[in-house]
Every structure is written in C-alpha cells, then in structure tokens.
Symmetry: D2
Subunit: 266 residues, 4 copies
C-alpha cells in the first residue's frame, strides 16, 4: 500500500494543507511471499475511493495513527482519502474556511486529477465517526450525485436534537463554534444542516446514497443514534444499522471500519 502525505494549496480553505491518501499497490510489506518485478498496476479503470472523515479534535493523521486502516484498505483494493476539517462539522464556516466546498467540489477534482481513482459515483464513498459521522451523512445527503454510500460510526447525526438536549454542549470547554458552523444553532431543526430534512429532499429528488450506521451501546450518543434509526426506518430508508458493545472510542472505530469497507464493496 502506498501512503502519500500530500501538501498542497487549497483554494476553498485559503491555505496550504496536508492530506493523507492511501493507494493499494501490488505488494505490501510484511505479507510478501514472492518477488515479482512485473507486478501490474491495474489502475486504468479507476480504483474505488473512500473519503474518510475524522471527529472533533482530529486531523488528516487521525486514521493513520489510531487505526489499522492502511492494512484494511490494502486487503480490499480501496483508495482512502483523509483530510483535516478541524472542528467545523464539515461546513462552510461563516468566518471564512469553506469545508463543505472543499470536500464536495475542490478535493474530488484534485483527487481524480492526480490519483488513479474512479470518477464513477457508484464506486465513490464517504464515512466517518462522531463529528465525522455527521459529516459523512451530511456531505453524502447534500451531494447524493457524488457518493453512492455514506457510513457513520458513533455519529452526532441528530444535530438539532443533540444541541437542544445539551448532549453536546455549547460552552468554553467545547471545541465547536456552533454559530460559525451553523449560524443560529436554535434553528437547526429542518434547516439545510438537518440530516432528516436533507434525506427527505434527496427522496424527492430521486437520488439517495445508501446509509450505514453503527454505534456502541455504551456510547453517550447511543440513544440519539437509536432515535435516528427509528426515524429513518419509519421513512423506509435503505439503512444498515448495527449496534455492539463498545464506547465512543478508537477500539470501536478500528473494528467497525472493517465492516464498513466490506459493506461498501458489496
């Protein structure tokens, strides 16, 4: 597997930034059984690609450092793209940095131009955990033309409900700037940031990404995820729901990313 730490200038973010990109390669260390110099790179059709999002406090290195995604993606022949979004909830921030624009407009064009990935929506996926679980569904439901599948682990999916119930609090010990991300956080319900509203809109438009949702029964977001599942099932959504013993931590995410990769490639 080739891991490429990529530094380049992003127009949407107005800064040089760092990405990490995995590209599966014919050989992979520690699993070599024979040497074959004529190994072929069958990349011409374009490899399937997963945009993999981090949670609050994280960055483009979180998945590399805290999981074994490198091995899991190599085994499955999947390109994985990891970029930083700070604590933005993957939004175009009022204060300037445009993360939604970056992830849905600039980054895919860059990746498709520079790396051997598919341009086919059916092989383009997005996933994440916690804030990035919201991000994966948010970006996926906002641009169903781009992604065939969107997966959340331990996601802060019901963003309006979580704010209203103070499950994710707005205070000085909290990394989020709700106003910078969402404007008035009291008006989240039904807004363009609300995943339920986005889902309804996609149904009307006739194009909805397939959804996946996993959560640990000890996660502080467990009840909220159960509620999201119930709402979506009532809407007859094409949703895979999984729950398992576990908390809001990397043990859970390192395990369920493997399940997600298998689901993406079904």
């Amino acid at each position: 597997m080739a891991l490429m730490e990529t530094h380049y200038y992003s127009f949407s973010l107005g800064s040089n930034i760092t990405l990490n990109v995995f590209v599966p390669t014919p050989g992979s260390s520690e699993e070599i059984t024979q040497i074959n110099h004529t190994q072929k790179y069958d990349y011409e059709a374009g490899l399937p690609v997963l945009y993999l999002l981090h949670g609050a406090y994280g960055d483009a290195f979180s998945w590399v450092r805290y999981s074994n995604i490198d091995r899991y993606a190599q085994e499955r022949g999947m390109v994985v793209v990891m970029a930083s979004a700070e604590n933005s909830f993957y939004q175009d921030l009022k204060s300037g940095k445009k993360y939604k624009t970056f992830f849905t407009e600039e980054l895919p064009v860059f990746i498709q131009s520079v790396f051997p990935v598919t341009k086919d929506r059916e092989k383009t996926y997005i996933a994440g955990f916690s804030m990035g679980g919201y991000g994966a569904w948010y970006l996926g439901l906002s641009r169903p033309d781009l992604y065939a599948k969107a997966a959340s682990m331990s996601g802060a999916l019901d963003i309006a409900g979580l704010y209203e119930s103070a499950t994710i609090q707005e205070n000085e010990n909290n990394p989020f700037s709700w106003e910078d991300s969402f404007g008035d956080p009291k008006k989240l319900s039904g807004s363009k940031y609300d995943l339920f509203a986005l889902y309804d809109q996609d149904v009307k438009g006739g194009c909805v990404p397939k959804l996946y949702q996993a959560v640990g029964t000890e996660d502080f977001l467990y009840q909220s995820n159960l509620h999201v599942k119930e709402v979506l099932e009532a809407k007859h959504a094409d949703l895979i729901y999984k729950e398992d013993k576990g908390g809001h931590d990397w043990n859970f995410w390192d395990k369920y990313i493997q399940d997600i990769l298998d689901w993406l490639l079904q």
Copy 2:
C-alpha cells in the same frame, strides 16, 4: 540537521496539528568530510531558538519547502520552530482558535519540554514575513518578556493604516477575516493589535524586544514599511532597517532570513 515533522494535540487550537522543528546536529549531509562516531551533542545549556512564522496562504511547511532555512540554521546552530496559523494574523480568533495563546503560552512550553532549547529570553527569537512579519512583531511586542528580538520581512506592520488605505482589502478574494482576527477593523488604530501602541506600552513597561525590518523596494508594502520605520525612528526605537531591490516573494525572504539569523546571533 534534524528536521522533525511533529504531530500533536494543541489545547489552544482544539485540534491535532503539525509543526516542523529543526535541531542542529553534529553532522549534516552533503558536507561530511570525516566520520566521527563520538560526535557530541552539546545541548545541555539549551540551544537558541527561533520561532519562524509564515505569511498568508502558508503553513508549517512553507519555510521548509520554499527556502533553504535548513542549511542556514544548521550552519548557525539555531533551533527553528515552524507552526501553522492559517490566515489569522496570529490572533486569538473570535470564532475559537486561539493562535496568540498557542504561540505565546502553549507552544513555548511544549518546545522547551520536548526539545533541547534554552528557556532564556535572551536566546529566544521570533521572525516572519508579510502577515508573519506583523505576527513576529505583534507577538514579540505583546510578550517582550519572552523574546529578545523580533524580525519582520515585507511585513504588514502598520495594520491599521493598511486597512484604512485599502492596501490590504477586505473582500471575497482576500483570505483574511478581519472581524474574526481583530473585531472591528475600523478601530485598529491605537488598539491592542496596533504595533505602535504595543511599542509604546513596552517602552513604558521597560522591556522592549530589539526590532529588525527588511523590505524590497518593489514590494507593494514598501511605502508602508518606510512609514513604520520613520515612526519608530522618531520614537528612537532600537531598530535595524534594511531595504533592497526585490519584491514580495520568496527570493527576497530566502535571502534576508540569512541576514536575520546573523543579526539574531550577534
């Protein structure tokens, strides 16, 4: 020279971030004339340290990629620390990320704890160009107890004047969020963001860093830098001023950083 690309969690910024740190070492590639396994690391007294700031659009990799700072610092035995500040003007942003706090409180403690640098103000320096020229003087004058010397190249030093004269415009093609950095940009003059006011305050307090200012005669900030020089000379500041043929570009900065390193170590 050891170059350390450092990933760690910043409390002030609420995210994992990336730093680059140079530490001079007994041997340096391409200049080796003899092999000596008993080379000594004379680090116990603590090495002098320069915090080196980037300009707008840049990041912690700008100096590594676009200059030869690695060689220049190795030759002079200087530790160099480079971190990203996006387009923040090195301020505590209203929207949350606290760059001033990061650079003046968190980062120095991290660097002094992990790397073999001095804790002595007399050997602690700060420098930068363009937005980072302002940043170097701003952080230096805000915390004269921390830095003995502060150097600007092509600096946006007269921040109030530059805004008022529309030399640095506030518009959608501009990376800066003036409000996020400074609050009301029309009230910059005399404020805690104004370098002249900070200078006066340091004089009153009896502790002022030595200042260095270089600018190219073809730089769009040339006239503004001349004005800053005149104001400071009228105040009898301890200021080194240099001008030279050149523009607002890396050819100028790669040249003058060498002069700055020599000035720091005088």
Copy 3:
C-alpha cells in the same frame, strides 16, 4: 501523543535517514474531556523508552501504519523509537552500513540528547517481531548494560537452526543477504550472532536483560520458538513465554505489543 517524523544524518549508516519517535503528551486527540492550558509536561526525570524494531521488508513507518502503537504508548506514558534496518538482521553489514553500531551507540545518544527520555538502563527497553524479534534479543543480549528488558514476537530467534533447517531459505526470492549480515551462515551456531551463546556470555558477565517471547501457534516459526523456550528454560532464564492462536501477521503483533508494554512497565 506527539509523533515526530525525524530526518537526520546518521554517521553509522552514512546517510540521511528517517526515524519515528512517539512522545506521550498531556492531551491526546479523540479522548479530550476538558481543556486545560496549564497541562504540565513532567519530563524532567526522563521518560521510559522503548526501541521498537520492524521485521523483514519493513521500515521506520511499519509500526505507525500497521498497528495502533500510538494509542497504546500514550496510555502508558512510554516514548517509542522506530528506525529502519532494512533486511539487515540488525547487524553491522560487511558491505558497509553498521546497523548494530547505529542501534547500540549512535541512536541512543541522539535520542537521549534531543528527546526527554531517561538514561537509566532500568527504564530502557527493546522489542520487535520476526527479524526484529531476533534483533531485539540480539541487541539486548549483546549490550545488556543498555536494556533492562528485551521482547520478541514471532521471532526468528534460533537463527542458526532456522538456516540449517532451511526454514528461512537462502535464495533469490528471499530478502536477506546472509553473508552480508553474518559472514558464513553455516558457522552461525555458537558465534557472536547466536542468541544462546550471547545469553551464556551475559550470564557469565552477571548482567542479563529480562526476556519475553510470544508466538502464534499457526506461525511457521512456532516450533522453532518452542525449541528456544525449552533451551532457555533449561538454562533457568528469566523468561516470559506466551503462545496464542494466531499467525505471523500484524493481528498478532498489534495484540501482543500491548501485553509487552504492560510487561515492560511492571
């Protein structure tokens, strides 16, 4: 946890090289519950340090990419140092590169000079898997004054027996240059490369590192590891031996490195 990708010139290897160093830090992403700017770095006593070796085909990035060592070391407050040794078996190669010298003389001095680690043998450890399992015991038993404990997973420990039985073959599809590492590989038994001989020598000298050995029952080195265990137990060695279901792969190593970290800190 701070992860530092470190580039510097090695005298023993005659080249610029890349290391990875983890240093535990007061905060760690994705596990933050409160922000505290006054977090202290209690590094003055020097942190315990583990030199962690890779196997054949690997490099300084193997552990970062294929395991979760970052999280495990952060939880336990351990510095971890990872360097490349190619397929050298951690020897001073006849063709020039001196890996043994690098790991036992140059690297510890560099690490102790630049990073906040202990110089105390009692808190200095070495571990690895496969070729690096041999390497950990080889370096540990060669320099018992440096390391208090040495741990092997899936180790190619009985190097003479493995060569003689053709378990690790000498052929063109094999990455090892036996002659370059060991001279005549038919004379390994009883030589300075033979771990049994080194162990006996340490016993005579009155200073032996504590040993740890783990192996999977499906590993092609399982029988060889069993033999090593029996020989050492007959010598009444201070040895921890563990076997478990598993093969010669990263699932095993990612699991047992956690057990090793706990054993080191006992």
Copy 4:
C-alpha cells in the same frame, strides 16, 4: 505545488521505502492573486517528469530540504521524483539491493501508474549532482530509450579515472563500497559502469540522451569534469557544458538546477 511524501513497498529493494514527488498544481501558496474554484488540472496529456538524484550521504529529502526545487518546478509545470539510493552509485548492489533496477524498471512504472505523468520518452528526464551526477548519466546512458535528457552537476562522471587517481578514495572514512557497487574497481575502465563506454554503445545503437554538465571552478571534481567534457567533445557529443565560480555545495546546485530545468523544457 503538491508535495507528496510517498511510502510504499519496493520489490527491487525488498523494503518499504520513502519517495518524494512534486506535482505542479494550479495554485501555489504565497503567490496567490485571485481565488478561482474552477481551476483546471490539465493533466490528461501527462506532465513532463524529472527524476532528480541525490549525492553521497543524501536521501529522498535532500532536494526538498536543501534547495528551492519546489518553487522552480511549480513555475515550470514539471513533476519531480526524488528517491533514496544511499551511497550505491545507483547500481544493482552485489549485496542485494537493486538500485539500477529500481530506478529504470520499477519506479517509472509506479510513477506512471499512480501520478499524472507522461509515458513519452521525449518528456522524461533525469538529473543529479556529485554521485547523483554520475547516476543521472549512468542511468540515462544505460537506458537511452527511457530518458531524452540527462544532466549532471558536479558529477563524479569519470568514475574509473577518479578511482585510479584516488580523487575519491577507498577507505574507511568513505561512504562508498566500491566492490558492492562495481565489483572490482580496478576494472572500471571500459566496463558497463564506464560512462564513456556507455556513450559509445548508445551511439552505435542510434539512441543517445542529450547531455548537460555543470561544474564549479573551485570544485574538487573540476579538472575531472573538464576532462570528461574534452573526451565527449572529441566524440562530437550533443553536450551542453557550463562552468561557473562555485564549489561542491548546495549553493551551486540550487542555482544550476534552475538552469537545468530551463534546458529540459527547451
């Protein structure tokens, strides 16, 4: 410019290795004058590509750290590939690592498969300095079907003469293993390692890369380079020769790489 630090498994070298690859991009930091989200990546025809070699003691990071190649290549729209060859003289080493095979067979296929570069020989180039000056001509003349142009700065070009005259000595303070690279170094003249012999062979074969040679008048290899120039001019080679004040150092190489880039793109 996108800088990609790439980690992947090399079959020819039997290890995970690190490459650096620059790919020019529509925007580049510190030179931005307008933001245009619809910037196009015109990569479909395949970008021209330069394989850029380091000298003794160096690695894949030497050019990144010690020169401004990033800026120079961005300005000219050139992809640049930098890999480590240790002190091998870019040969297939007797002790195992096959650098010639890596650079001429494995690396180009990897680069052409993963990155948006041309497969056209007319736009494929190779250059280097010192040991890498020899390497550039050696690889270029060995495989004239692959590279249209080969450039040397401060090159150890007359390898037989340099050994015989003891200009580059064989001793323990020298990083080279002559035997590992070349077999018997006394038999270099006229061998497959001798650039003069390779040149004659290419002429016979009817395919010769264009050659470029620069050297400083204070370089210890100056006289040797003069001799090489005279021999090649007597053979009526298509050679650009440049000399200038300067030594065997990065000031010279950082200057002349710009001249080489211009020559490549003529």
